[in-house]
Symmetry: C2
Subunit: 324 residues, 2 copies
Amino acid sequence: MRLLDLYAKMKHDLNVIESELEATMTSDHALLSETSLHLLKAGGKRIRPVFVLLAGKFGNYNLDELKKVAVALELIHMASLVHDDVIDDADTRRGQLTVKSRWDNRIAMYTGDYIHAKALLTITDLQVPQVHQVLSKAMVQMCIGEMEQIRDFFNTRQTVRNYFLRIRRKTALLIAISCQLGAIAAGCSNTTAQNLYRFGYNVGMAFQIGDDLLDLCGTEKQIGKPPGSDIRQGNITLPVLFALEDPEVADSLLPEIERIRNTEGQAGTVRALELIKQSSGIARAEELAERYIAKAVRALEELPTISAKKNLTDIAGFIAKRNY
Amino acid sequence: MRLLDLYAKMKHDLNVIESELEATMTSDHALLSETSLHLLKAGGKRIRPVFVLLAGKFGNYNLDELKKVAVALELIHMASLVHDDVIDDADTRRGQLTVKSRWDNRIAMYTGDYIHAKALLTITDLQVPQVHQVLSKAMVQMCIGEMEQIRDFFNTRQTVRNYFLRIRRKTALLIAISCQLGAIAAGCSNTTAQNLYRFGYNVGMAFQIGDDLLDLCGTEKQIGKPPGSDIRQGNITLPVLFALEDPEVADSLLPEIERIRNTEGQAGTVRALELIKQSSGIARAEELAERYIAKAVRALEELPTISAKKNLTDIAGFIAKRNY
């Protein structure tokens, strides 16, 4: 099955989520509605809602309950994007102007806060204390991850372990709990919820490595923003760390990163990207992403053979091929 | 009773809250601990915890439960301060460097997000769904209030009603729910919780009017930042709106505000403050604050005569005299 076929199959339920997202973002405050809907309309893969719904299939699938979890998780993701764009000083996202660029940083900060608050309001409708706890714990970790990213900017001596801890908090956790909370909201057993968490966690790690590879190797059309954005802002990702371990490249790459760091405004990254692509960094990062995908698929082994299991396995496959 | 005597009387319980605040802010991430504790150490009146505890006295006073509510509300307040300082570009708060000034805007934004998330994590320990709902609704309104403040910057034609709606969301709501949630956590009846909410709401309105007056009439030592900060950043407060209705002053004040608006960097506000103080705006705003205080005290009428009732009335009196 192709990814598009899966989305087509889930179309009805994803449309419900989409309407709910839109209804949630339409506030009585004109500017806030406008900024939030701007972001919503820019689209996105809605991968977190997809995981919530598929995880829910392993229990009592009740869309009215699951949609609250799905909407809350997508909103938390969106809120973090708005704040990221302030930090990254990013002008475009998904091929559209960012909130901070179309309006300003202050408006983007409060838009993020507002979307966050709306996410919480949505989830409080669900009277399962465990859901609130899992969610707020993850939110704390996500903030730590964002802070670590700032701390690690342009740190070419950070370890690979450092990178993994960071993307764990920044990305993998929210995908992991999308699976876990979908299961919990559907009344699955703890074991099932834990297996789905492990699936989401490993898929999330692979997903972020894939994203980081795409930022180096993709085209502007594919990424929705210019390639090399990560390195320009100082975000040293896995392929770069591996490239720095490659003796063929390290001596030329280090001063190139230093130059980018010291350039005021938009530094050129063509030479740095060339060097990284010549190195063994790309292949090594791809290999690690595939290992995470394999782990994700293994986490599903004990689960009953229903079509959602096949769907999750397929999605893991798409992510492995970065075919999304 | 003086305010200090009340704090002395509540010292044990407030110390418990203070330790809990500190423990909550001490994370495994060094920089986040540092930024959050920096803010905590700058002190503050902890008025929201005081209200939570006093409201709790009308039910089954259980400090272990109430402290979660008190800590969460104080943290939400603190998070909003950190984000405000980014927006206001404020260098000092409570006489100390702000997070955004000692570190930078990015770090301040994530520190705010982190403190927010910690607040939620603290409150999820309390397994009362109504508490989560009341809290997240208030958070949404607070964000709208912040956004309205930005929208209304330098708008000298805004109505007094506009100002009231804004401070309702920005300040009064959080104080209102401090009282309400203290009551709910202590198992009070709905009527009691509603009366306490009304008390907090009216006290909160008076409190913000008092704060706005202080920014115009206080000294740097009293305020912890230079007077006239509001007007410098474009925040048109009640005494200013009233001054603009005073024919003796309006014609000179309007161009003065326009000049401040058009000045790059730190505009002088001496002349504007002089004009406002000459106008009837100060007295009219004071009178309105007193009316809110009277309403607050009336909201307590039906409550049982326990010492907490006397304490709340006393606090309302201190706020009326801006004697805090």
